[in-house]
Point group: C3
Chain length 164, copies 3
């Protein structure tokens, strides 16, 4: 690893962070700009497969567009290798969904295997996919006393809890 | 992004990591030293607002000082931009509170928008604030069989679980 | 901190990420290669102590080898200092275990204090240990409606949930 490579690695990390921020803030326009036009995706161990950035973003927006579906996708442990204008990246994912319409909480963990491509001065996602370590779901009816105390959309991101 | 900027970005990341370590280890003296004297804070979508580092730390210590309130604040996805002696940073937060006195578990996710300032050879927090994606609370009475098996304070950080 | 140090810090981060990836993917052969032969470990506030990489890996494999024990160990907030061929690192850990044989979910948080050593061109773990902030366990019987919807081993990492 050379010093120059660190700058490219940092830029690829930020590409991935922007991807996840756009998903969790439901900025699907911003999300589209992070993919190469011919990007491919193979989510959930290859169960959900899409070709082309429009198909990928349509899938995400269709399934995650409701503002009652609060999601937190966090990636960790980047192992990124750059080879000229291409790069590969392994990431560890943890994700939570708190759905206040369908009344469940979902928790998952997975490993991403991504590919990136440099287009002019920018890095773009050319392939993304993950395989689940686990995923589990609990209906909130199964958690007596469950209370949603803040929501980006329903409460302007403010908590209803009192502080001293 | 230039190579020199990477060093400053790494130092700002460490400032943020120290901030969260001091909170979760309840080192409020150490926490104070990480803020500029005139720092401001706007937590929870602007619902909890404080001016001056003493007011900020007092708020945190008042609400998180009990050693029966076990917290884990973890930040991810740093998007940090440095401009001379100032910098901005976006982070994705995940936090958990396990309160063994008030008997609840709280889980939250948020996005931080911070500002930093260089003072001599050190970076300090000049503004911090976050907006919640979600926050939810479950009383431990609502989780039959719940058991706290380790505590930094009550068990010297050791688990009571048996291993082979 | 100098620019050259950033490359070593990035390499040490990747060592730690590989360590956790090997644990969560149950690659115990790969795990062994990441330790110095005389490495030591002091997990869970010093309650589980081992000397030598073989003893460390045997402990991990014995307790985490079952493919019904799904684990996610994620580390955050690296504060790494390099001094020649040695280095120290503080990390914030979050870990989850979803055990589909013994029917519980465990959630924990901790702080690692590690030491690393450079051997030729590679960094190795010479000491690892953590102290728990908290750890708690909930039997899945205490979460009515709980469903494991994906498993690296039982479902090839695919979710059973339907998407649109």
């Amino acid at each position: 690893m050379e010093i120059d490579e660190l700058v490219e690695i940092e830029r690829i990390k930020r590409l991935k962070y922007a991807y996840l921020r756009c998903i969790d803030q439901k900025d699907f326009g911003g999300l589209t700009e992070l993919f190469a036009p011919d990007a491919t995706a193979a989510y959930s161990g290859g169960r959900y497969v899409y070709e082309g950035r429009d198909a990928i973003v349509r899938f995400i927006e269709t399934n995650m567009g409701r503002t009652t579906m609060h999601s937190s996708h966090r990636v960790h442990h980047p192992e990124i290798d750059v080879d000229g204008d291409e790069a590969t990246g392994t990431w560890a994912l943890e994700d939570t969904i708190v759905d206040s319409e369908w009344d469940f909480v979902l928790q998952g963990a997975a490993f991403y295997e991504d590919r990136y491509v440099r287009s002019g001065n920018r890095w773009l996602i050319s392939h993304t996919g993950y395989r689940r370590t686990y995923e589990y779901l609990v209906p909130t009816a199964g958690m007596p006393g469950f209370a949603l105390t803040a929501s980006w959309w329903a409460t302007d991101g403010q908590s209803s809890l009192e502080v001293q």
